[in-house]
Symmetry: C2
Subunit: 226 residues, 2 copies
């Protein structure tokens, strides 16, 4: 278990909606914001700065889901790196000429690399899941700041924690719309649960976030007793 016993990060994806008020409303209640590729492409990198000006707290993550050669990933990252704390790339692409270069690029700028180790949709079983041991080998070599693994697959979270140790930050999407209950990933060893629609599409996002925090706390208390 990492340093934050019950982290909550809000996923902002839609390019059609202004998130300024939402960010201000959730500031201090959640631990950070993850900006999806649709938002980053549709609104442009500078929109990230506009959102961040509404909340200077927490961890801000550009979820570019990068999966390219180092040269191209660095070009893309350079567009957002000044506005965020961390960038997400796929573990699938390997270290040499890819994640290794990206990590060095980010670290030189005081920023963090977060790597996807596993995904939550049914098609993940076709290829991604079967490659998990190889991805974990690559992650062990790489030593990223954070790893993404879905809340819908607690055993994957457990094996990442076991393999990569207590210091890596594990972030788990899949809570809410994709079926996992708040707190389930934390119980499996994640540091942050990533929630999108359940908060963002709520008529009262602030209350929705507080209710998820409560549910996380209850679940975590019960799994620690168990």
């Amino acid at each position: 278990m990492g340093s934050n016993p019950m982290g909550l990060i809000v996923a902002l994806d839609s390019p059609d909606r202004g998130f300024e008020d939402l960010v201000e409303e959730l500031c201090g209640i959640v631990d950070g914001f993850k900006l999806g590729l649709p938002l980053l492409v549709g609104r442009g990198p500078v929109y990230t700065a506009a959102l961040r000006s509404r909340c200077h707290e927490g961890v801000w993550i550009a979820d570019l889901k990068l999966a390219d050669i180092g040269h191209v990933m660095k070009l893309t990252t350079s567009l957002v790196v000044d506005y965020v704390d961390a960038v997400i790339a796929h573990g699938f692409i390997g270290v040499r000429g890819a994640l290794g270069e990206l990590k060095e690029f980010l670290e030189r700028r005081g920023k963090k690399l977060v790597v996807v180790a596993s995904m939550s949709h049914p098609g993940a079983e076709e290829v991604y899941d079967k490659a998990l041991p190889l991805i974990l080998d690559a992650m062990e070599k790489l030593g990223p700041w954070g790893v993404v693994a879905p809340a819908t697959r607690p055993h994957v979270i457990e094996s990442i924690r076991e393999r990569l140790g207590p210091r890596v930050a594990i972030m788990s999407p899949g809570v809410g719309a994709q079926g996992a209950e708040p707190g389930a990933a934390l119980c499996a060893g994640a540091d942050y649960e990533i929630v999108g629609r359940l908060i963002v599409s709520s008529p009262d996002p602030r209350s929705a976030a507080l209710a998820i925090r409560d549910a996380q706390g209850r679940r975590l208390a019960s799994c620690r007793r168990g």
Copy 2:
């Protein structure tokens, strides 16, 4: 071998440079343009329309390197789909809830899906290459319009052609800066070679493109004789 015996596509990646004049100069000489994620994030989707207004010929491809759940990939794709003929996603994410949904979304709009089956950097050996048989299984189920496989790995191109048949369009990056010679991928069965820096960074891009076309023709003639 597909319908185009010696295709050449130009990769435009840099967000810092205006490509309008280059596109106009290369129009009719090359078979299309591939717009990279750095360009799409940095300049915004509408820039694609501005470039295309300089050349209505050829195939225009948004190289988003998508690797997410269907819902998020469709959100991103919807931002560029009106301006391009095809979109690139990664094969390793699988069909169900991912590439299957994206393909349907594109086909309903008369657009094409191109799927990365293999990459060219050294780190591709760590995970991607080892998953190739699983990726090809998924591609066989999916039936995408096109597949990306690097010019630096002709045996991968051959196995894709053998596995997916004569109709799939195979596109091969890695020519020039990454080490493959013009025509080598075509000899292995690719339909298009993708060239970036060798043309885009040339002081005379038009002559550079014509020289690559010549080199492709010579190489293709010799491998067909051989």
